[in-house]
Symmetry: D2
Amino acid sequence: MLRIAVLGCGRIGRMHAANIAAHPRAKLATVFDTHQPSADEVAARHRVDAAVSVDAIFASADVDAVLIATTTDTHADYIERAVAAGKPMLCEKPIDLSLARVNACAERIKGARVAIQLGFNRRFDPGHLAAREAVRAGEIGTLHQVIITSRDPAPAPRAYLEVSGGIFRDMAIHDFDLARFLLGEEPEEVFASGSRLIEPAMMQEIGDYDTAMIVLRTASGKQCHINNSRKAVYGYDQRVELFGDAGMVISGNRKPHELARFSAAATGAAAPFLNFFIERYRESYEAEISAFVDCVERSTPPEVGFEDGRKALVLAEAAIKSAAEGRVVNVGEIG
Amino acid sequence: MLRIAVLGCGRIGRMHAANIAAHPRAKLATVFDTHQPSADEVAARHRVDAAVSVDAIFASADVDAVLIATTTDTHADYIERAVAAGKPMLCEKPIDLSLARVNACAERIKGARVAIQLGFNRRFDPGHLAAREAVRAGEIGTLHQVIITSRDPAPAPRAYLEVSGGIFRDMAIHDFDLARFLLGEEPEEVFASGSRLIEPAMMQEIGDYDTAMIVLRTASGKQCHINNSRKAVYGYDQRVELFGDAGMVISGNRKPHELARFSAAATGAAAPFLNFFIERYRESYEAEISAFVDCVERSTPPEVGFEDGRKALVLAEAAIKSAAEGRVVNVGEIG
Amino acid sequence: MLRIAVLGCGRIGRMHAANIAAHPRAKLATVFDTHQPSADEVAARHRVDAAVSVDAIFASADVDAVLIATTTDTHADYIERAVAAGKPMLCEKPIDLSLARVNACAERIKGARVAIQLGFNRRFDPGHLAAREAVRAGEIGTLHQVIITSRDPAPAPRAYLEVSGGIFRDMAIHDFDLARFLLGEEPEEVFASGSRLIEPAMMQEIGDYDTAMIVLRTASGKQCHINNSRKAVYGYDQRVELFGDAGMVISGNRKPHELARFSAAATGAAAPFLNFFIERYRESYEAEISAFVDCVERSTPPEVGFEDGRKALVLAEAAIKSAAEGRVVNVGEIG
Amino acid sequence: MLRIAVLGCGRIGRMHAANIAAHPRAKLATVFDTHQPSADEVAARHRVDAAVSVDAIFASADVDAVLIATTTDTHADYIERAVAAGKPMLCEKPIDLSLARVNACAERIKGARVAIQLGFNRRFDPGHLAAREAVRAGEIGTLHQVIITSRDPAPAPRAYLEVSGGIFRDMAIHDFDLARFLLGEEPEEVFASGSRLIEPAMMQEIGDYDTAMIVLRTASGKQCHINNSRKAVYGYDQRVELFGDAGMVISGNRKPHELARFSAAATGAAAPFLNFFIERYRESYEAEISAFVDCVERSTPPEVGFEDGRKALVLAEAAIKSAAEGRVVNVGEIG
């Protein structure tokens, strides 16, 4: 049983704690949050003791690994401290909003022996994973195009958006990682276009976009289109299409059930899609924990690691530059 | 070019006339209707002369074949006359509402050399046909169960229903033929249950049902369920499911286009199904003419002939008896 | 926290134990199985002590309620003992294979104050439940027809089938309960037809069927068709269609993910359906525990109780008689 | 009855001739082709006389209108001649591959009174049209993003590709028109990326691409993505997605029938999509003729005219420039 401590007891930390507690090969060791009542609540729910400090966790002999689900600005520090403490970690994305900070972190942890798994959970979604496996199995021949549709059900509050790093770093970052995962090749060119259509005035004020289209291209000419929106009223829209010279696979959206309604007005009308990431990616989050336990138990490299987090951020930076300058940006220009 | 005369210029005769006119190997020879303006209109539309009488058609050397789309009570007579005149025919279903009359007709035309094709057009529906082909090709292994859903979009007027012969003879007759076609074996046992749910008072008065469920069974134990309703507000509901020990095929409904709507209330909402037989079975009616031209040109037996019409009526009679007596009726009890 | 003891640590008891352990308002108190290693394994997994006997459980002040997941032949006894001990219970279906035994049990527990919930989990399936709610909300107008498709992925072993009570008592029993739930009226007439198509010789020997079609009818004329097969190679086939004079709803099958494949041979090809009840009804089993906790905490009657279990068995007996005699059987003839 | 002459009896001219012949308010007047046997065959099929020359057609008092389906390099000339002869025309797309030639033609026909309808048939597709109507009706709120998927089933022969004008002028031209139609606003910025993935060597030699991704943007910030490929083995892939702040509509692909197959390997597997434009857009081509007859009869402007043809070509030129220069091209830079 891998004894995992959870740092951060917000919405996502809470979910990870429950997944760890339910996992047959993992055990929730302890939890921590700067907001003590949150930590206490999660601790009580799973009958463990809350940790008195992060220091205590890193020092504890009863903690085999840590899951970092604190605020983004603490991720890089905690990664460095976990490396120093020799604790394998599963760290929520992103590593940091600043590429300079990420690069500095990379420098400091160079040669680290402990597993650093990044929380790009979508790679573990059963549908997206089956899509990737189909390509690997040759089902669609040579991959030519990838289309990623990624739209949130509703815009986050302004307070969140202001510190989010913007649509490319905050939202598209998942899609950049997915693009790399699905393409099986590194994108070399990035084109991005941002629009302010949902809340134009606010977007203008905070210098962000709420709607975006991106085109990536690899050295061999494979193409990937990503479209993003902060507001899809029909639910969280998460689709992946892989097109090749021998076929296509599409990983579609999930609904809460398979009820179809037929009336004088419409046929086959189903429920809106699962509303947001906790529900939509329930199985991915569970599988992510399994993969982490596996890589620690077997001393294998994580399925998705630190460098993947850094590369996704490089693509986000390239997209920001492309949207600003109206031209293709080479990934080499960034980092 | 097979020169075909159309007898009866109602809704269905009109459609057949247009299909014949557009067919590359057929030619509309002439048309007839007891209601002269109807005949004139169809004749003008296709630039042919309307016939002065049915006699003239049967006597004409310029008519190679006839399509009988007159009222049901004339079908058996016209079949006998067409046989006498040596004209191959495509006759709309049913042969007659009276099994005795059908049997008498069978007696009189015994040994007829001309092709008699019955208008069970659903056998030619591309989806239903592909389902049958899949079974023949062994795709679902041995067929075990057939489910036929057959619901009209709205009840016919009372005047029609009163002379229709009842739901089993008028509506389920198509499904009985389809069941025989799809099962590939003769049903030996019939169970039927009729209900009065849409217009109970009127149904009671005319001694008919508007809702029905049927179970057929062949000697080898294959089962077929048919459900009927006179009122499906979401459009003409015409589905066929074939289930076997190695798989299943389902021939579904057709819509006017493939638009899907996604809103805060529903996802994947499509248009109602094509409203009625002329639209839904457009391709079947076209294919039926082709099959008729083929069987006349090649002197091959029709895909669906007089005896098929008789056997479907026998099943309808068995269903009527079963619904009345609350027991399984053996086909042998009827005819 | 409701402290629940689980009796029976087979496949289904194990699943219930995990669901209880993960439930926010329930706690796994203890477990019991006549096969000690099974009980020990489940106890260890959830860090509880296995009970030394059923007596100990019924006598324990630390057990608030019991979940009965032992073999069918013990259900009625344990129900009687739980009633005597004043412990509310969730009992797996069926109550017993013998209607006489069930009636005797009913007599003995008459006036019982503790909740007796029957394990007809399908009533809690999100899709089936949404279908029922749609009818209640008037979405399809007056309900006219119900079609239940219920096919297992593969036949159970002969040893199981021999003591199963036959296809109507063992398999269709779920569908009879679902029919009652969905019709919202009691079926009064039953017609059933059984076939031996998958393993005819074995079925003949044990006097059972592997394929069945059923038609139920309520006093008001509502109709319900059920079709059953022991072998659907494409996965566990569990569909419910509710048809009314203002529309239709269909609760369809669930797949492990939403991947669709497009090739030169086929479009939209998805994965086989979830293979069997543990996977397909995962959410139903979870919701069933919640409903049980609710009814105990609030002292409300269970959503599905002892009499529902008895009535489903009455319908099964009627189906057996109907299949043997080839006629409609009135429920009043049975019990 | 509008008497229409068809110029060009290739595959598409032949189809138009049949549609005109079958149209209730149109009549096929005559046909012409430089390859006499083709003209004779189509004339015989529809029992009309083939014209001896194009001059004869333009001079004929028995010809009310012309349908131009000759080779692309003759379109502009015939448009000018039809204008001079006062004959309304339906001209197949594109007007010409050279924007200079199109602009010269525009100059020469300035002030023309006769209807000039361009053959952008996709605007008449029932699904695409219903999508556009849904937007107009406010169903999806304000339109934000359009995604057009447009992939041919198989690459055309090299001989065709060499004179086609390239993927943007030949293939994407339809999508550019559809984008303008669906966006309801003029695109102002064009980004395009071309790849050589299907037949890289040949594409290199002829200086063309076989795979492309495009992003368009209007002044208000609406975005449109188009993806193209010359080879979709699962059939002609023609999808349109319209996304707005209150919902989404998707116009999907059509299949020859609605058969779904279920096996141990896959569920819901349908037939490949209709293979190419004649089949896929059958109804669009019919509706296009109706719209043409309407605009001539009622002296209303055509739904899609000369300037639409010119603007689509401007977008194609912008795409070519963008793909070459790796930057956003403003439409104003082109024409």
